[in-house]
C-alpha cells in the first residue's frame, strides 16, 4: 500500500505541476489575479505531494519491504537504520526523487515567502519552476520509478554498496542537491524576466538571496564530498578531477560568478544581460551535471548507447531547457535596457574581471570533462584528462583570479583608484612576500612554486583583513569611532571578507598537503614501528570483529612522538558478505590542522599486514576554507538589506508614517 500511495502521490504532483505550468501564465496574460494566484497554491500542494512520495520511499526502506525492487536492490534487513534511510538516495531512482523533492521545496519557499514579489513575476517564476518539475516527474515516472514491485518478493535484499554505508551519504547528496537545484530559482527568475521583458535592480535584490542560499549549500556539499572521498577511499586523495566532481564544480564556478554579477546589477543597475545569461548558464550546468551523472554516459559511452532510455530522456530535457532558454535569451536580451556606465578600473570592472576569469575557468573544466567523451564517440579512441591537464590550465587562471581578489572590494564603484588601492594593500603584499621568504628559507631546496603559492594565500587573507581595517578605520581613527563604524558595518561586508579569506585558507591547505605530504607504505608485523614525519607508529595487534552486516579486521596502532604516547589509532578493513566486497576504513588523528592517516592493505599468511601511513600537514585547511566561505555567505544572507523578502523601501516608509 505504501508503495502504491507514494507512486500515486508522485502522479498527482505531476498533475499539479502541469496545471502550475500553464494556468498562471494565462492569468498573467489576462491580468487575472485569481489565475495567477493558482501558482502559489499548486506550488505548495506539489511540495506536499512530492514530500509524501519521498516519505513513502523512506518508509519502504526503513521497513525493508523487499517486494519493492528499489528496496531489494539497495537495502538489507541487517543494515543500520541510518543507512536504511540514507540508502534511499544512494541509488538512481531515489536520488532523482530527492532531486525533485528539493525542486518542489524551493518552489514552495518562493510561493510561501514571495509575498512581496509583483504578482505577475511570481506567477512567471513558479510556472517556469513547474516546467522543470514536470519534465523531471515524467522522467521518474517513465524511466526510473522507485515504487515498482517485484512479482515474487525475495526474503533478503542485496545491500547498499559498502562505500556508501557512511555518514557522508547522509549529508553530501542532500547538500549538493540543495545547491544544484537551488540555482533553478535564479534560472526561473531569469526566464520570467525575459518573458516579461522587464528587469531592474529590484529583480537582482530578489534573486541574490536565493542564489546565495544555493551557493552556500553547493560550497558545503562539494567540500563535504571531498572530505568524504578523503577518509573513505583509503589513500588520502581529496580531489580527483573526475567528471562527477567536475559536474559539481562547474555550477559552483558559474554560480560564484552569478553571485558577483548580481551584486553589480543590484547596486549599479549594470551588467543586466550578462547576469540573466549567467543565471541560465549556471542552472544549465547543473542540468548537464545531472545528465553526466544520471545517464551513465560516464560509466560507459557504450552502455549509454545500448540502454539509452534514461540517457536520451535527460538529454532531451537538457536540450529543451538549455536550447529553449538560450533562444529566448537571444530573442529578448536586446530589449532589456542598458544600465549605468563605469570605468574599466572600478568595482564594477573588478567584478567583470572576476566573472571573466570564473567563467573561463569553468569553460576549461567543461572542456576537460567533455573532450574525452567527444573523442571516444567521434574518433573511437580513449584517453583520460586528469590532474596534469587541470594543473596546467585551471591553476594559472585561478592564480590570476586570486591575485585580483584583494583589489576588488577596495575599489570604488564607478571609477576606482588603482594606485591608491595598491598603496593600501601594500601591507598585505609585504605580509605575503615575508611569508614567501620564510617558507623558502625553511624548506631550502624544495619546490619554488609552493612558497609562492602560500604567499599568494597569505596575500588573499591579509587583503581581506585590510579591507575590514579600512572600512572600520582601525589604526587611523580614534577607538570610539572605530567601534561605532564596526557596529555600523553591514554584515555583507564581513561576509565577503570572510569568504575571500576562505579562498586563501583553502589554497594554503592545498599547497601544504600536496607539497609536504609524507607517506610510508610497507608490510608491518606485530610490534613493528614505523617512523613518519616525527611520529612513531607501533602496530600492537590485529583483531577480528563482527559488525551488523559485515566482518571487520581492526589493526591497533599506538602513536607516540618523542617517547610521549599520543593516541591509539584503529584503522580497519570491512568485508560485506552480501555484496562480496570490502572497504577500507582509514583512521585519522588530528593534530591542529594536520592529520595522521592510516589505512590497511591485505594481510598475508604470516600475520603481517600491508599498511599505508600518511602525514598530511595542514590538510584540514582545505575544508576549513570552504566552511569559512559558506559562513561568510550565511553572514551576508543575514544582512538586513538582503534578507529574503525584505520589504521595499517605499513600503517601509509608509509603514513608519502612522507611528509618528
Amino acid at each position: 500500500m505504501i508503495a502504491e500511495s507514494g507512486h500515486y502521490a508522485l502522479v498527482l504532483a505531476l498533475g499539479l505541476a502541469l496545471i502550475q505550468s500553464i494556468v498562471p501564465l494565462i492569468g498573467a496574460r489576462l491580468r487575472d489575479d485569481a489565475l495567477m494566484n493558482v501558482a502559489r497554491s499548486t506550488a505548495l500542494a506539489q511540495l506536499l505531494f512530492v514530500g509524501a512520495s519521498f516519505v513513502a520511499l523512506v518508509m519502504l526502506h526503513v521497513n525493508s519491504d523487499f517486494s519493492v525492487a528499489n528496496v531489494y536492490e539497495n537495502s538489507h534487513s541487517m543494515k543500520p537504520l541510518l543507512y536504511k534511510i540514507t540508502g534511499v538516495w544512494g541509488n538512481h531512482e531515489g536520488s532523482m526523487l530527492l532531486w525533485v523533492s528539493i525542486l518542489a521545496l524551493f518552489g514552495g519557499l518562493v510561493a510561501a515567502f514571495g509575498n512581496n514579489l509583483p504578482l505577475s513575476l511570481r506567477a512567471h517564476v513558479l510556472a517556469v519552476q513547474a516546467w522543470i518539475a514536470s519534465a523531471f516527474y515524467l522522467f521518474i515516472l517513465v524511466t526510473s520509478n522507485p515504487f515498482l514491485r517485484i512479482a515474487s518478493p525475495p526474503i533478503e535484499g542485496r545491500d547498499l554498496n559498502p562505500v556508501l554505508q557512511d555518514i557522508g551519504l547522509a549529508v553530501h547528496p542532500p547538500m549538493l542537491y540543495l545547491g544544484y537545484v537551488g540555482f533553478s530559482i535564479s534560472f526561473s527568475f531569469a526566464i520570467a524576466a525575459l518573458m516579461e521583458g522587464r528587469i531592474d535592480a529590484a529583480w537582482a535584490r530578489w534573486v541574490r538571496p536565493w542564489t546565495l542560499v544555493a551557493w552556500i549549500f553547493l560550497t558545503l556539499g562539494i567540500a563535504m564530498g571531498s572530505y568524504w572521498a578523503y577518509y573513505e577511499l583509503g589513500w588520502g586523495g581529496w580531489w580527483f578531477w573526475d567528471p562527477v566532481e567536475n559536474a559539481s564544480l562547474m555550477p559552483w564556478l558559474a554560480g560564484t560568478a552569478l553571485l558577483h554579477s548580481a551584486l553589480v546589477m543590484e547596486k549599479r543597475n549594470a551588467l543586466k544581460v550578462w547576469t540573466i545569461l549567467l543565471s541560465i548558464l549556471t542552472f544549465s550546468l547543473s542540468l548537464l551535471g545531472t545528465f553526466l551523472v544520471r545517464s551513465g554516459v560516464i560509466t560507459s559511452v557504450h552502455a549509454f548507447a545500448t540502454d539509452p532510455t534514461r540517457g536520451v530522456f535527460i538529454l532531451l530535457i537538457l536540450c529543451l531547457f538549455i536550447g529553449g532558454s538560450l533562444s529566448l535569451f537571444a530573442g529578448r536580451a536586446t530589449s532589456l535596457k542598458q544600465g549605468g556606465l563605469f570605468a574599466p578600473i572600478s568595482r564594477e570592472g573588478a567584478l567583470v574581471l572576476n566573472n571573466l576569469l570564473l567563467t573561463v575557468a569553468c569553460a576549461v573544466v567543461l572542456f576537460g570533462t567533455l573532450y574525452p567523451l567527444a573523442m571516444e564517440m567521434l574518433a573511437d579512441f580513449k584517453m583520460s584528462v586528469g590532474a596534469p591537464f587541470y594543473n596546467l590550465t585551471f591553476a594559472p587562471l585561478f592564480t590570476l583570479l586570486l591575485l585580483a581578489v584583494p583589489f576588488g572590494p577596495m575599489l570604488a564603484w564607478k571609477r576606482g583608484d588603482l594606485l591608491g588601492v595598491t598603496q593600501r594593500l601594500l601591507a598585505a603584499g609585504v605580509a605575503g612576500l615575508v611569508v614567501v621568504a620564510i617558507v623558502w628559507a625553511w624548506t631550502r631546496g624544495g619546490s619554488a612554486l609552493a612558497p609562492l603559492a602560500i604567499g599568494l594565500g597569505v596575500f588573499v587573507i591579509a587583503g581581506a583583513v585590510t579591507d575590514l581595517v579600512e572600512r572600520t578605520g582601525l589604526v587611523r581613527l580614534p577607538f570610539a569611532t572605530v567601534l561605532h563604524r564596526t557596529r555600523g558595518l553591514p554584515r555583507s561586508a564581513w561576509g565577503s571578507a570572510l569568504a575571500h579569506a576562505g579562498l586563501g585558507v583553502a589554497l594554503i591547505g592545498i599547497v601544504c598537503e600536496t607539497t609536504w605530504n609524507s607517506e610510508y607504505i610497507a608490510t608491518m608485523k606485530q610490534s613493528d614501528v614505523a617512523h613518519v614525519a616525527g611520529y612513531d607508529v607501533k602496530l600492537d595487534g590485529l583483531f577480528q570483529r563482527q559488525g551488523p552486516n559485515y566482518r571487520e579486521m581492526i589493526a591497533e596502532f599506538n602513536v607516540s612522538r618523542d617517547g610521549e604516547a599520543l593516541s591509539v589509532m584503529t584503522p580497519s578493513k570491512r568485508s560485506f558478505t552480501t555484496r562480496g566486497s570490502s572497504t577500507t576504513e582509514a583512521a585519522l588523528l588530528t593534530r591542529g590542522a594536520s592529520q595522521l592517516y592510516i589505512s590497511l592493505g591485505d594481510a598475508n599468511a604470516e600475520g603481517a599486514i600491508a599498511v599505508r601511513i600518511y602525514h598530511k600537514p595542514l590538510v584540514l585547511l582545505i575544508w576549513w576554507g570552504p566552511v569559512l566561505m559558506a559562513f561568510g555567505g550565511v553572514l551576508s544572507l543575514s544582512d538586513r538589506r538582503l534578507r529574503v523578502g525584505a520589504p521595499k523601501p517605499a513600503r517601509a516608509k509608509q509603514r513608519l508614517q502612522p507611528a509618528e
Binding site: 536520488s95 568524504w228 562527477v244 552502455a303 556606465l341 591485505d602
Partner: protein, 169 residues
C-alpha cells in the same frame, strides 16, 4: 570614456583572457593527456618505452606474484595478448585474479609495464568501463562480467564513488 570605448575595453579584456585560456588548454593537451591501451594494442602498435599510457585488461589467473617490500608482479591479458606488469605498493581492495584492472605507467626497456598506479574499480556487477569496452570490442565479453553497470556504481550520489582513482589507487 564613452559607452563604445567601455564596451571595447571589456570585449578586448575578454578576448585576451579567452586567448590565454585557449593557449593554456592547447599547451596542456600536448603532453598531459594519457591514452588507453590493451595488451593487443600495445603489441600491434609497438609503444615506445617510457611513454605513459593506461593499460587495461583482465588480471591473468595464476600470474600474481608478491615479492619483498610490497613488490607485486602480474600479467594483464585481453584474450589475444598478455603483458607483464610490475608494481610496488598496496593493491586495491577489489584487485583479483581474473578481474578487470587498469594500470597507469610506462614500458621499460625489457618490455615490462612499470605501473605507478593500479586502479580496480568494480564489484561483482561493475567493470572498469575502459576494460569492458575493449573486451566487448574484441569479442571476449562474457555476460556474467557485467550485470547492470549502473547498478553497483552510483557516481551521482557520491563523489567518492564516481572516481576510479578514488576507489583504489
Amino acid at each position: 570614456m564613452t559607452r563604445k570605448q567601455r564596451r571595447m575595453t571589456i570585449i578586448g579584456g575578454s578576448l585576451a583572457v579567452l586567448a590565454l585560456a585557449a593557449a593554456l588548454v592547447l599547451n596542456a593537451l600536448r603532453d598531459s593527456i594519457v591514452f588507453f591501451s590493451t595488451p593487443t594494442m600495445v603489441a600491434e602498435k609497438h609503444v615506445q618505452a617510457g611513454k605513459r599510457f593506461r593499460l587495461g585488461g583482465l588480471v591473468q589467473p595464476g600470474s600474481l606474484q608478491r615479492g619483498d617490500n610490497l613488490a607485486v608482479s602480474f600479467e594483464v591479458a585481453d584474450g589475444n595478448a598478455k603483458l607483464p606488469v610490475a608494481y610496488k605498493g598496496i593493491l586495491p581492495d577489489l584487485f583479483r585474479e581474473g578481474q578487470g584492472v587498469v594500470a597507469e605507467g610506462a614500458l621499460d626497456a625489457n618490455g615490462v609495464f612499470k605501473a605507478d598506479t593500479v586502479l580496480a574499480k568494480h564489484d561483482e556487477t561493475y567493470m572498469p568501463k575502459d576494460v569492458a569496452d575493449a573486451l566487448k570490442k574484441q569479442g571476449h565479453w562474457k555476460d556474467d562480467y557485467g550485470g547492470k553497470a549502473s547498478d553497483g556504481a552510483k557516481p551521482a550520489a557520491t563523489t567518492a564513488q564516481g572516481n576510479p582513482q578514488g576507489a583504489v589507487r
